[in-house]
């Protein structure tokens, strides 16, 4: 069996990749995907760190987080679509009408 600690290391790596992608990428969909990766890294961390006594709790929490991620995806994609209809692009450089 693979020890749970390895899964935790994997989740930290995924989370860091998500942060890096969020800051490096310049279009809305990819940034949104980065956030989804971060949320799923958190799911993996919940399961990896739960320990045998608390495993059931962790599984329930993971279902909550999946639901939250789905709700965020629904609203987020709708907003991205709104932006795309207006500007015909989803590059973040075009979002600069407010300054100061």
């Amino acid at each position: 069996m693979i020890p749970p600690g390895y899964f935790f290391i994997l989740s930290v790596v995924l989370f860091s990749l998500g942060i890096i992608a969020f800051f490096l990428k310049r279009d809305l969909i990819t940034q949104f995907m980065a956030i989804e990766i971060m949320l799923n890294a958190a799911n993996l961390a919940f399961l990896a760190l739960a320990g045998s006594s608390n495993f059931l709790d962790a599984q329930v929490i993971v279902f909550f987080i999946i639901t939250v991620a789905a709700a965020e995806a629904a609203i987020g994609l709708a907003i991205v679509l709104l932006i795309f209809r207006k500007k015909k692009t989803i590059k973040t450089e075009t979002l600069n009408s407010m300054k100061g």
């Binding site: 935790f8 969020f22 971060m38 919940f46 760190l49 006594s53 100061g100």
Partner: protein, 476 residues
């Protein structure tokens, strides 16, 4: 009352929201105001049912839902705030050609998120409440679909908000892994014993705090706030400036006040938040100085006010925090309400130049706006003065003298930009043509009530302080 009975006030709000969404499809355009009345009825019903639980202090669902006094006090505050926002929004929404049903319904859903956040001591439930609030807030920010700024503020709020949520969740995962619980009292007990995985658990706690700091716009996690506040429809901005902030600070004080005393690693986190509080008050006030757009200026002012609230959290002073939040609800909604009073059909006047000479052209609106600005600046005899005074006195008692000195300095700076608007209103000749819609009784009712609130809290704060003391005694 069993556990399901305890959720009735919450279900009333959610049910009201669903009813509003349903009615939106069937009502004719000239009857859309009925949606506001339905929402207000839901709010009143929720208020009456919640009042019955005052002083009972019971918890339900194995401690997942706690209707203690602080939770109920904040619930009342949110009910008042959302009722005010609905009333100031009624005319605005039809003038700016946005959809009525979405506005009222999403506000009610956001309110249910706020109520969940403050009535739980389990981090995962708090997170779910926060997400209910956030998801509805993203949509609220983009309510003016034809307006570029509004859509832009929605996408910025969405990206930064869900980025912060990811931090919060990852921090919770680590905390859950080390402490094996996400209940706040369990976490505190865990930190008192001196954890086995010391560094890891502190990293988790830090990530949770960073996630919350994003949501309540603490410098340096505030970048999204000015854009979102500027672009969102003004009633929604009024809601953003009070609702999420109050709930976030309520969670922070529940989490941190017991932690400061004996928690492992508390000295380091205390120093970290000390620096953030100093930065927040100073940066918020300094950047507000060079804003030409009043909405954006009020956004920075709201960031600076978050700094004062953070000082109350650092001092572990629940009374001062709740009093500040109460006063802030009235002054902030009052100030944004005055901005809404200066809107015309399909037009908004938010630039500083638009306000030149307003004090003589529209004497009532000018005078009321001036009172709210003076209150935000902290002049006696308004509530803003006492709110800051209590926070500072409480902090000095806890030995945070240098932090209070920084905050006093920041609030002196803030006097300049608040008074600049008053100067423009009363000491400049009108430069631009401003045509505003004057017939808006619901808005005037809110302005009057907020004015009354600000003065009552400043001159006779006794009643409210009595309630707050009752609330805080159940906090720890």
């Amino acid at each position: 009352m069993n556990s399901f009975g305890a959720t009735v006030p919450l279900l009333l709000i959610v049910g009201g929201a669903l009813l509003v969404f349903l009615l939106e499809a069937f009502l004719k355009k000239e009857n859309k105001n009925y949606l506001a009345y339905v929402s207000l009825f839901a709010l009143i019903g929720c208020g009456i049912l919640s009042a019955k639980a005052w002083n009972a202090g019971r918890s339900y669902f194995d401690g997942m839902l706690r209707l203690d006094n602080p939770a109920l006090f904040l619930t009342f505050l949110f009910l008042i705030a959302v009722a005010f926002v609905i009333l100031i929004g009624m005319k605005y929404i039809s003038m700016q050609d946005a959809n009525h049903g979405e506005f009222y319904g999403l506000l009610l859903l956001a309110l249910s998120g706020l109520m969940i956040m403050v009535s739980s001591t389990n981090l995962i439930v708090i997170f779910l409440g926060l997400e209910v609030l956030s998801v509805s807030s993203y949509a609220l920010a983009g309510l003016k679909r034809k307006d570029d700024k509004s859509s832009e503020s929605a996408i910025k709020y969405f990206l930064m908000g869900s980025f912060a949520s990811a931090f919060l969740v990852f921090g919770m995962a680590i905390l859950f892994g080390t402490a094996q619980t996400l209940d706040i009292s369990g976490l505190i007990a865990f930190f008192k014993t001196g954890p086995d995985n010391q560094v890891l658990s502190l990293v988790g706690f830090g990530l949770v705090l960073v996630g919350l700091a994003f949501k309540i716009a603490i410098v340096p996690f505030h970048m999204w706030a000015p854009d979102v506040y500027e672009g969102a429809p003004t009633p929604v901005t009024a809601f953003f400036s009070v609702g999420p902030k109050a709930a976030g600070f309520a969670v922070l004080i529940r989490l941190l006040a017991p932690y400061w005393n004996a928690g492992f690693g508390s000295a380091k986190l205390f120093a970290f938040l000390w620096a953030l509080a100093a930065l927040t008050t100073l940066v918020g006030s300094l950047i507000a100085l060079r804003q030409k757009n009043i909405k954006r200026m009020l956004a920075y002012s709201s960031i600076a006010n978050g700094g004062y609230m953070l000082i109350a959290v650092l001092a572990g002073d629940g009374t001062a925090l709740l009093f500040f939040l109460t006063t802030y609800v009235f002054m902030s909604i009052g100030a944004f309400g005055s901005l809404i009073a200066l809107t015309g059909n399909g037009r908004e006047y938010n630039e500083l130049e638009d306000f030149a000479g307003i004090g003589f052209k529209y004497p009532w609106i000018g005078a009321i706006f001036a009172v709210f600005l003076l209150s935000l600046a902290g002049f006696p005899p308004t509530g803003g003065f006492l709110a800051k005074f209590y926070v500072f006195v409480g902090a000095v008692r806890q030995g945070l003298t240098s932090l209070v000195l920084i905050a006093v300095l920041a609030s002196l700076i803030s006097v300049y930009y608040y008074l600049r608007i008053v100067v423009y209103m009363y000491m400049r000749e009108p430069e631009r043509e401003v045509s505003i819609e004057l017939e808006n009784p619901a808005l005037y009712l809110v302005l009057f009530l907020s004015l009354y609130g600000v003065l009552q809290l400043g001159i006779f704060p006794g009643n409210v302080l009595y309630l707050i003391k009752q609330a805080v005694s159940a906090l720890f």
